[in-house]
């Protein structure tokens, strides 16, 4: 017992001396499981790489919980140095002028040069302001991609579709072969937000919300989007599309269990799917509509970014800048990319992984990056919409009603637009 105490005492003394000299910074994130472990590994690597700063990552639960904790902490002056905020919450933190120091300013102030062009196109705008200045530092980025059940396609004797028209043509054959032709896992992210990006259609007024919060309005009654959901509903009725609710895993399960032929998932699903899928699989880009002019552009990034919270000392801010610099170095990016399945966000990291032959070994890991590197369209850079998590909830509710037959597609989008615009107007008041 005494020995145990002595050991603990010694350990404490050592850790105290080592952190005495270093500046401590904290990082709150919303990742759990394996992804949470990888964050700890990244932090360890950073702490081992230098002695001036000591970074402590803290898991705050889910993305939503991390944002809520960050907000509560900021209000009481106890904010962490770095807060991870997910795509849908970006408007909340970026519009709160003064809550964060733009990543680009922080890094430049610390004496580094910041090169926007070092980042791959798809991640460059989403967390930036309308001038293109990086406010958040893109961290874990993913793209919605289509996973392919190789056996199912072989059995039906068809090729993976590039467009939804091609899907319509092969769906009966897949069904005949005994598979559910198509499942997906998140209608909001994959069939709404990224419907707009892949088909290069405007999502909201005010330049998708980037220019101003005042009078920003959704454009979800766009006839093309309505057509997409009319098709999904018709496909479901004909047995070409399986819908198992708003939960991600309930839908993924059908693909894992070799019951579905095609599944729209995330590029980040790759790691887990390798363990759970009962059949060989490959992946390709999220389909678009060949009939829509200018379609086939890159998708928005999903995932989350890191934000440097304001109200911290210069010393600590310098450490945060050091860490951001460390995080975007090709080696760390490559490590993170390979350990989690999230895409590499810099061109250098992508080239490094490619040169090592990583994608020959695992071609699926490259699909998300390639999709993000497709030519950008006018409307594929991102969106900035306030109270967006709640707008997503409205969409989820109405989509559920579409597939249970309670409302028509047209009525559902009218409701989403009406309630969504009310929330946007409300947000404009809070930010004004």
């Amino acid at each position: 017992m005494i020995r145990k105490f002595t050991m603990t005492g010694l350990a404490l003394a050592f850790s105290a001396t080592s952190s005495l000299a270093a500046t401590n910074i904290t990082w709150w994130h919303g990742m759990a499981g394996r992804n949470g472990e990888v964050i700890n590994e990244v932090a360890q690597k950073f702490n081992a790489s230098q002695t001036a700063c000591a970074l402590t990552p803290v898991s705050k639960g889910t993305y939503e919980e991390a944002l809520a904790s960050g907000i509560a902490a900021f209000r009481s002056g106890e904010q962490p140095n770095i807060l991870q905020v997910f795509d849908a919450g970006a408007a909340t933190i970026i519009n709160a002028k003064g809550a964060v120091i733009p990543a680009e300013d922080l890094i430049t102030k610390a004496g580094y040069t910041f090169d926007r062009n070092a980042f791959i196109d798809g991640v460059r705008y989403f967390y930036a302001d309308s001038d293109g200045k990086f406010v958040g530092m893109p961290f874990n980025s993913s793209a919605p991609i289509m996973y392919i059940n190789d056996e199912a396609l072989k059995k039906a004797g068809v090729e993976a579709p590039k467009t939804w028209e091609e899907f319509e043509a092969i769906a009966p054959k897949l069904k005949e072969a005994g598979f559910i032709p198509l499942v997906q896992s998140q209608l909001t992210w994959q069939f709404t937000e990224n419907f707009f990006s892949r088909n290069n259609i405007q999502f909201a007024t005010n330049n998708n919300g980037y220019d101003s919060v005042v009078d920003t309005q959704l454009k979800v009654t766009d006839p093309n989007l309505v057509m997409m959901f009319d098709k999904l509903k018709a496909w479901k009725d004909e047995g070409y599309f399986g819908f198992y609710g708003a939960g991600w895993n309930d839908n993924q399960k059908m693909f894992e269990e070799n019951k579905a032929a095609l599944w729209i998932g995330s590029s980040g699903s790759f790691g887990g799917l390798q363990k759970t899928a009962q059949m060989p699989f490959s992946a390709t880009f999220l389909p678009y509509w060949g009939s829509i002019k200018g379609a086939g552009t890159s998708s928005f990034i999903g995932g989350a970014a890191l934000f440097a919270m304001s109200g911290k000392s210069d010393e600590e801010n310098k450490c945060v800048a050091d860490f951001f610099q460390f995080l975007t170095s090709p080696e760390v990016q490559k490590f993170y990319h390979q350990a989690t399945g999230y895409v590499a966000i810099t061109k250098a990291a992508y080239e490094l992984a490619k040169a090592e032959g990583y994608y020959n070994e695992k071609p699926v890991a490259e699909v998300g990056i390639k999709q993000l590197m497709l030519p950008a369209g006018e409307w594929s850079k991102g969106y900035r919409l306030g109270f967006y998590p709640q707008i997503r909830e409205i969409m989820e509710r109405e989509y559920g009603r579409i597939f249970s037959g309670e409302v028509s597609v047209k009525d559902a989008f009218d409701t989403i637009e009406k309630e969504g615009n009310e929330l946007l107007a409300r947000f404009a008041k809070t930010a004004g």
């Binding site: 709160a96 609710g245 708003a246 709640q390 909830e393 989820e396 509710r397 249970s404 809070t430 004004g432």
Partner: protein, 328 residues
């Protein structure tokens, strides 16, 4: 929601503590108070000192947040607290004008009524039956009580597995009768699953109280009743149930608040973090708008509305239902 200590409000006992004592004080019958044992304190400050920790907790964890909620319900502010503007009652009118909110309120009312009714009646039925068992009664009672030790999210998780659309045994069972149950997709099916899991979770609690209430009914009263009336059912309605009324009334209030608030964990697990078109209760809506949507003003207004509902409900229960409860 504090849970009362596990003593039964037996009518014959001189109300030493617990629920019976609590409610008797509300009745304010001074003539009986004089007969109760009174503790004398040497210093007039001492009782307040003893009360202080409890009062501090109530103040910090209840009154203070309540006042803050009421205050922020009149403001519209950005989540980080940079700017907040006074909007008067706009948050309330926005909420009350919303058809969605009214739909959720309707569901909450139905849900609360059904959960309270079924968990009370099934708990009572089981208690009466277990009270009659003589051989091996400890085993029965333990089996009926242990469910209470399960935390709500775990109960929700277990319930969700029973109702899982892919592997749930209850879904397969319902399929035998031609009921294609789709929890998570179909509003009514999800509501059904929520009610079943919530009731299942609460039955043991009611069982414990009813059982101890039954055991507190003096044998002499029961024997006298047997002599007067041969019908067991009639004896139950005319003699046993009235004597159980204080317990039942206490449980009615506890179960109502359980259905309104404590079912949060069950609901969260059943909707799997994504409510979509599934039913939710008012308290879950507060969480969704406040913690996930970061709309502080709106969710504060909702929680004040919820506070008023509970306040009115409790007053109603004390005023109109407790009148029919006889404590001695």
């Amino acid at each position: 929601m504090t849970h009362a200590p596990l003593s039964s409000p037996t009518p014959a006992a001189p109300f030493p503590s617990g629920a019976g004592g609590l409610f008797r004080r509300f009745k304010a019958r001074p003539s009986e108070d004089t007969s109760a044992k009174r503790v004398q304190f040497n210093s007039p400050l001492l009782p307040y000192l003893f009360l202080a920790p409890q009062m501090a907790i109530i103040f910090i964890f209840f009154y203070w947040p309540s006042v803050q909620a009421i205050q922020s319900s009149f403001y519209l502010e950005d989540p980080f607290g940079f700017g907040s503007s006074f909007v008067g009652l706009a948050n309330y009118t926005d909420v009350l004008k919303s058809n969605e909110y009214l739909g959720i309120a309707r569901f909450t009312a139905v849900f609360t009524a059904l959960v309270t009714f079924f968990s009370l009646s099934i708990g009572l039925l089981l208690a009466v039956k277990a009270d009659g068992v003589i051989r091996g009664n400890a085993a029965y009672k333990t089996l009926l009580i242990w469910v209470y030790a399960i935390a709500p999210p775990v109960a929700g998780l277990m319930g969700m597995m029973m109702f899982d659309q892919h592997i749930g045994p209850l879904v397969k069972f319902a399929g035998l009768f031609g009921w294609e149950m789709k929890v998570g997709l179909n509003y009514n099916d999800t509501a059904f699953a929520m009610i079943v899991v919530s009731v299942w979770k609460q039955i043991p609690y009611n069982f414990i109280f009813f059982l101890s209430g039954l055991q507190g009914i003096p044998v002499s009263v029961r024997e006298a009743a047997i002599m007067d009336c041969r019908s067991g059912l009639r004896r139950f309605w005319t003699v046993i149930l009235p004597l159980l009324a204080p317990t039942a009334f206490f449980l009615l209030i506890i179960n109502t608040t359980y259905a309104l608030f404590d079912t949060f964990g069950v609901i969260d697990v059943i909707v799997k973090d994504k409510a979509a078109n599934n039913p939710i209760t008012l308290v879950y809506k507060v969480y969704m708008d406040g913690f996930r949507g970061n709309d502080l003003g709106g969710s504060s207004a909702q929680s004040v509305i919820l506070m008023i509902i509970v306040f009115v409900l409790t007053i109603f229960q004390f005023r109109f239902i407790e009148r029919r409860v006889h404590y001695n």
